[in-house]
Symmetry: C2
Subunit: 288 residues, 2 copies
Amino acid sequence: MNFLKRYDDYKEIFEAELKKRIETLNSSNETLKDAMVYSLTVGGKRIRPVIMLAVAELLCVDLNKVLPFAVAIECIHTYSLIHDDLPAMDNDDLRRGKPTNHKVFGEAMAILAGDALLNYAYELILRSVTDNNSLSAGRLLALYAGAFGMVGGQALDILSENTVKNEETLYKIHENKTGKLLLASTLVPSCLAGNAHFDKLSEYGKNLGLLFQVTDDILDVVSSTAKLGKSINKDADENKLTFVTLYGLDGAKSYADKYYGNAKSALSDLEDNEFLLELLNFIKDREY
Amino acid sequence: MNFLKRYDDYKEIFEAELKKRIETLNSSNETLKDAMVYSLTVGGKRIRPVIMLAVAELLCVDLNKVLPFAVAIECIHTYSLIHDDLPAMDNDDLRRGKPTNHKVFGEAMAILAGDALLNYAYELILRSVTDNNSLSAGRLLALYAGAFGMVGGQALDILSENTVKNEETLYKIHENKTGKLLLASTLVPSCLAGNAHFDKLSEYGKNLGLLFQVTDDILDVVSSTAKLGKSINKDADENKLTFVTLYGLDGAKSYADKYYGNAKSALSDLEDNEFLLELLNFIKDREY
């Protein structure tokens, strides 16, 4: 099957599940729910859910088992974007071409909408824990989302603006900030399948995460605001540590090739690996 | 045993567990961990953990089973205070007589420290799920912490500054903002004991939550900044909806009596109820 068709199919399955979950989401307050739903449905590639569904299919995991985790990881990703965009953090007015959450609902509500999405992610996860495999999937996601994972990476990223800019710090930021949730997307289905192909998927997920981030850093320089749906050249302006600010544009591109190669070889002897391999091209060649 | 001695004993058991957990808390970044630990250890009555331990003892639940949930609920409470104190929310410089998190670590790090504490709470909960009872305890806590509980109440509280000030809104704010975590403190041990005395503890917890909040509203008017460790008279200044702004000081006091009575009768026919009954006096007569 054509890659993009299959990507859209996964995305559609995910969007249907997300819609269903949103309909039954309990909130004591409608404005809060509106703010949560606004950022959850403002668009986006849904790459984490798509990876989860694709890996689940490769491992013959029932998609109904992985879908609540796919919604949960998208909630975690979305809350992190809402908080990242706040004036005290990256101070972004646009996200995916639309006004950011705090521009629409105000800063206080944006903080709370992020908090509520994070709580909701775990509400979903805890409701989906039914056996040891789903429990270990939940534990992995929690570990990778927090101080040891994504939030730890965000903290490093903020501190990097005023700290020593070297390779070690760069890796630690990207490994955690973007990397850990993408890695979790490949490993949650593995947990659900009793740790099937855990090491290979771990190697694939780590390199896919780095590939995603180096491409992001490159796009910040070479893309346009119209395509990217957010401001460009922000990294250099803000004195951020990125692959491009550390290695230059050509250096960053050769790192992209390296991670692409590593991720590809990690899955080389797995059956039905076509979609996950083509996904690497999709990430590397994307324009937004 | 003397009430205050027993309160301190529970507090000490909790502090020892918290210390142990902090020592093994994984973070990719030391500053982030410092910010988390700062607010976790800045003091406080630890009333939620103390309630959990006391109810657990009443229900003959092994304290080791409830302790991770006690740390988790204190992490959730602490993250909510950090975010509440932010300039975009209540804009408080002092908490428990010490500078608030963002005053020490900056706004961005305070937002992330709150996020990390919330993630860590669920990491702990998921690690403590070992059977159906602990799973239902985790699910209850997640439901009561999020949009349907505490965060929903915070959102209502913010919106109340510019909305219609009536009894219904006041209850909905307090039932959720302060009430749901205090209620969870009584119900988590019940879940761990297979829903033992669930209805009675629910009635007790709801009224204890309202008693706590009405006393808080009263203290905002009659206490001093020195005693309270935070600014006073903020509610009226900010046009907040509270028991005092709605019913006046005397009206608020008679509501306190009513909730005190309701909570007391809920537990009247339970054995070993002395500590939980005296706790109501402690809450009602506290000066900070």
